[in-house]
């Protein structure tokens, strides 16, 4: 373990910083500035899986790994909706999850935003029309930002959160 820690101290960081390649650094700047103005220094996100296939969750989880490191932008996931500014929804919104999704939203304090991540959350995706789903998040909640993809890539999820910040700024 000692060698491992030493390597971590002396080696290059894993986190990608090259703005030209991934645009992550640039995104971080915009997000940081605006989030600071609006919400102090951070944006708290509560994620709810409303019937996803779980691939969307895996990519959202990945935004927190050392390669994408979402925390450096002041973004972080919270357990309680009471602490959250953003509700990040995945899945086509199954009827069996409708109540839980509404309750989570209702428990959040204003101002609050809703992000629909993945094709399912946008319009039901390939499950649209089923007796068991509501064909997307907009049937239940006011959606501010959508992130297309099946599933969207981690970098795209980060990028969308910036768009949300810009919109939140304009409407203030």
């Amino acid at each position: 373990m000692k060698t491992m820690l030493l390597k971590a101290l002396t080696g290059k960081p894993l986190t990608e910083a090259a703005p030209a390649q991934s645009g992550l650094d640039e995104l971080g700047m915009t997000l940081g500035l605006q989030a600071r103005r609006r919400l102090g220094r951070s944006l708290a996100i509560r994620q709810v899986d409303a019937g996803s296939c779980n691939a969307c969750e895996l990519e959202i989880q990945a935004t927190g790994n050392p390669v994408y490191d979402l925390d450096r932008f002041g973004l972080h996931f919270v357990a309680s909706p009471r602490h959250a500014d953003v509700l990040l929804v995945t899945g086509p919104v199954t009827r069996n999850m409708e109540v839980a999704l509404r309750r989570t939203y209702d428990a959040m304090a204003n101002p609050k935003w809703v992000v629909a991540a993945g094709d399912c959350a946008i319009d039901g995706g390939c499950f649209a029309g089923s007796y068991a789903v509501l064909d997307g998040c907009a049937a239940v909640l006011p959606v501010d930002v959508t992130i297309p993809g099946c599933p969207p890539k981690p970098a795209e999820i980060l990028r969308a959160l910036v768009a949300l910040m810009q919109r939140a700024d304009k409407t203030s």
């Binding site: 691939a55 996931f77 199954t94 009827r95």
Partner: protein, 504 residues
């Protein structure tokens, strides 16, 4: 009456190569089969319904024959399998919810997938409208002094799938856990009905996202068997490359995540970048991080080009170099091992009774892996070992994964090195004809089963998909007993069952 096990054993050679004839059962034979499953003479692989019949897939453990038994039912009921063989219980409750068929003699007749919110009942039979409301669910009573209940979910603290856990605890110790799932039910079975084979493949690959390849392959096997199509060797090798990459990505993620739930954050910090490398390799080689829609019935959608192959070789190399120091780290942390060793022990007899697949079964001494025991090409051409442990605790489930990462890397060497040249798509089959087929593929979590029946137009009449987690979730309830609530996340993560895969 022939013994059930003999019937099933005789199907040894027809399995996967063409339509598997179903054996028509009398009620007495059906009950005999349920009893034989309970006695361990045969292994229950799945249980499902069509409009007018119930079916079970069985395996005879010695000959490795796989057969399907069917019971026609005219009166909307059938003799309960779960009455004799409890692992069938949730499957049976789902049959009642979807088809309105009642298992006679079943102990637990509470709804499972149907939470009362659909606005209809029995969506796969003659659906009837019903007012949508969610009545309370009758959790099993727990009686005793000083007990309290802790309800958790369906929305959990982390970024994970939804489900409800009802803990009954005495102080810190869990006396009973009852799971309630079904929250992610999307109605996939009904979407499948009448769908084209191609649309079915899309849906199958979105059943449980982490097992995209395993589902895609099992579904392809089933439809290929039904249509009498044989994919070319190169396509099969490419499928195996994808399947091992998927296993690698998931195991790396899990090893880190389990340790994270033991509050050792360095492990995920080291594992997740390796997993990210694998995902990017998949994207570079097959055009999608999860390799979605890369497997199509008859073959694969796109070939592996030279740069894709080089990208994958580089990934295998980097993971191999990065992984061993991580293993050493895990093995030499007494504070971490104190949390994982002895925690969440699954007894071997329970693992065998439930035919628990994957790392869960293999960590509890159930020595079974489809890649070796019901092999499909190209696994019959590869050399690999199937790790087995007896301890059955969280630590054992981590070690099985560690060993499987090594084995997958070893297999990827062989697969990338020996990839045969040729077509990646089978020539079109003889045309549309009704047919049925069964597919069985070893996913990272265990054996995925897909059964499909096609009609004369080549459309799907019925498609049944059985996730490995059907037989793993109930065991988590057993495993957590007498552990403290604080160890539940650790036990749960070490199981990493799929919600979406069983909710459908």
């Amino acid at each position: 009456m022939a013994e059930i096990s003999e019937l099933v054993a005789a199907d040894r050679d027809t399995f996967r190569t063409g339509t598997l004839q179903r054996h028509k059962m009398t009620r007495a034979q059906w009950e005999q089969a349920a009893g034989d499953a309970a006695r361990g003479y045969v292994t229950l692989l799945s249980l499902w319904a069509t409009r007018s019949a119930v079916h079970m897939a069985l395996m005879e453990p010695n000959s490795r024959g796989v057969g399907i038994l069917s019971l026609e039912n005219r009166r909307a009921e059938f003799p309960s399998v779960a009455r004799l063989h409890p692992p069938a219980q949730r499957l049976e409750r789902s049959i009642t919810d979807l088809f309105g068929l009642a298992p006679q003699g079943a102990e637990d007749t509470r709804p499972w997938l149907d939470h009362g919110a659909w606005g209809i009942t029995t969506p796969l039979a003659k659906a009837r409208p019903r007012e949508a409301r969610q009545p309370d669910y009758d959790f099993l009573p727990v009686i005793g002094e000083g007990l309290h209940q802790v309800p958790v979910g369906p929305v959990h603290a982390g970024i994970i799938e939804p489900g409800h856990f009802r803990f009954s605890a005495q102080g810190e110790t869990v006396v009973r856990l009852e799971e309630r799932l079904g929250y992610t039910h999307k109605g996939i079975d009904r979407l499948m009905q009448g769908a084209t084979v191609a649309r079915g493949a899309m849906l199958a690959q979105r059943c449980s996202g982490d097992s995209t390849v395993a589902y895609g392959w099992a579904y392809a096997q089933a439809t290929e068997a039904a249509q009498g199509v044989t994919p070319p060797p190169r396509a099969l090798w490419l499928r195996a490359i994808m399947a091992e990459l998927e296993r690698l990505a998931n195991h790396l993620n899990d090893i880190g995540a389990i340790c994270n739930d033991a509050a050792f954050a360095l492990m995920p910090a080291l594992c997740s970048p390796l997993r990210e490398k694998v995902m990017r390799g998949c994207d570079a080689a097959f055009g999608h991080r999860f390799m979605r829609d890369a497997i199509v019935p008859g073959g694969v959608a796109r070939d592996l080009e030279r740069d894709g192959r080089q990208a994958l070789e580089a990934v295998v190399d980097e993971v191999r170099r990065g992984f061993e120091p991580i293993v050493e780290l895990y093995d030499n942390r007494p504070s971490l091992l104190a949390r994982t060793v002895g925690t969440g022990r699954l007894r071997g007899d329970l693992a065998r009774q439930f035919a628990a697949g994957g790392y869960i079964g293999r960590a509890s001494g159930r020595d079974f892996d489809l890649r070796r025991d019901l092999p499909y090409a190209p696994y019959d051409r590869l050399t690999f070992k199937i790790p087995v442990r007896e301890e059955g605790d969280v630590d054992a489930r981590i070690w099985i994964r560690i060993e499987e990462v090594r084995q997958s890397l070893h297999m990827l060497d062989q697969l990338l090195g020996g990839l045969p040249a040729g077509d990646i798509q089978a020539p079109p089959g003889p045309g549309n004809a009704p047919g049925e087929g069964l597919g069985l593929v070893e996913g990272f979590r265990g054996d995925v089963l897909v059964w499909v029946a096609l009609d004369a137009r080549g459309r799907i009449r019925r498609c049944h998909m059985r996730d490995p987690s059907w037989f793993q979730w109930p065991l988590l309830e057993a495993v957590i007993e007498d552990n403290i609530i604080a160890d539940f996340p650790l036990c749960n993560k070490s199981f990493n069952c799929s919600y979406s895969g069983v909710d459908l």
